[in-house]
């Protein structure tokens, strides 16, 4: 029979764990709301930019742009977007798994990892694809997630591509579908895939100032920045969604555990009392007899 005191201690400890997990769930729910708002706020910008780019490139095409140059894949960068903190289920592992698949796919090239978020960085730091020089501060991006910060990073990537230091850039991140569902996605950032011109309202005769080609050349880097920023925002929202789900499950499990422990505790208590009564009765009987 389990010791009564032992069970009592376990109940207390499971209860306090439950308090922590349910508090973390609440915090994540609040942060998720904020992250989702940020995505919603960015959406009109992203959509309009896509519109304009489609309209402008309808006749010019982006093929001439340096950013859509298809080169032999000698240097490939993989941007791995994970979270800074754990306790969010399979969130980070899924991204790392996908990133490793992408790395394996490009075995013919020199693959470098650009880590966004601590967890992915911690994993890839031990591999040959990691150079400290390229990742000065992998944690910093999620400490202050802003468009300026994201566009700084995108700027560096774009410049490296233009200078020929890298021939292909892939982003691996968790796309946010809803609070419970994240989709691991590998997206090609560079070279730019030609935008679909299907949605272009080509019937409108725009005045372009300066020339169309110049506008397209200016818009492509901007849309890349937006694409990266969107990946970061999506990942951030996904992280909190994943943590919310994970913590919800943990709280439920802790509840089950406490229920089971309480049952065992009460059974043990009852057995002890029964035992005591039997002893007393037996003692009394012995005196009378």
């Amino acid at each position: 029979m389990a010791n009564l005191k032992e069970i009592r201690t376990r109940i207390v400890s499971v209860n306090s764990t439950m308090q922590i997990t349910s508090a973390m769930k609440m915090v994540s729910a609040a942060k998720l709301k904020r992250a989702q708002d940020a995505i919603t706020r960015m959406r009109p910008y992203a959509e309009k930019l896509k519109d304009i780019l489609e309209n402008a490139s309808a006749s010019v095409g982006v093929e001439g742009s340096i950013y859509s140059q298809q080169r032999e894949e000698k240097n490939v960068w993989v941007v791995v977007v994970t979270s800074n903190r754990g306790l969010c289920g399979g969130f980070n592992n899924n991204v790392i798994k996908e990133a490793r698949r992408v790395v394996a796919q490009h075995a013919h090239a020199k693959v470098q990892i650009l880590g966004m978020g601590k967890k992915g960085a911690d994993f890839f730091r031990k591999t040959a694809n990691w150079t400290e020089a390229m990742n000065p501060a992998p944690n910093a991006i999620f400490d202050r997630l802003s468009f300026e910060h994201a566009s700084e990073i995108a700027e560096n990537i774009i410049q490296a591509f233009a200078e020929g230091k890298v021939d292909k850039v892939v982003v691996v991140y968790n796309r946010f579908k809803n609070a419970a569902v994240q989709v691991v996605t590998a997206e090609q950032l560079l070279p730019v895939l030609p935008p679909s011109t299907a949605g272009a309202s080509s019937s409108v005769d725009y005045i372009f100032e300066p020339a169309k080609e110049q506008i397209v050349a200016e818009l492509i880097p901007r849309s890349l920045k937006v694409q990266l920023y969107k990946a970061l925002l999506d990942s951030f929202a996904s992280e909190h969604g994943a943590r919310m789900t994970a913590m919800h499950k943990a709280t439920d499990n802790a509840g089950e555990l406490v229920k089971g422990l309480k049952l065992t505790y009460n059974k043990a208590r009852q057995a002890a009392i029964t035992g005591e009564i039997l002893e007393i009765v037996a003692g009394a009987e012995a005196l009378n007899g």
């Binding site: 960015m42 009109p44 309009k48 930019l49 309209n55 802003s146 468009f147 005045i207 506008i215």
Partner: protein, 78 residues
Amino acid sequence: MQIEIITPDTTLYAGEATYVFLPGSDGSLGVMNNHAPLISSLKKGTLRVKDNAGKELNFEVNGGTVEVLNNKVVVLAE
């Protein structure tokens, strides 16, 4: 006409306006009602919006793009 000033982080302004002054990269441009469809890039400068009440609003932009179509001005600012 309608004007919207959008940045990646937020919508700065959305509403009616009678006149918009933009720092176009090929020279400043003013947009009034019934302007022809236009797509232009912007350089760093001040964007001035005169709303229906005649009040003037100023926005600093670091560059961006503007689209004018059917009396709707959309500024993608940075």
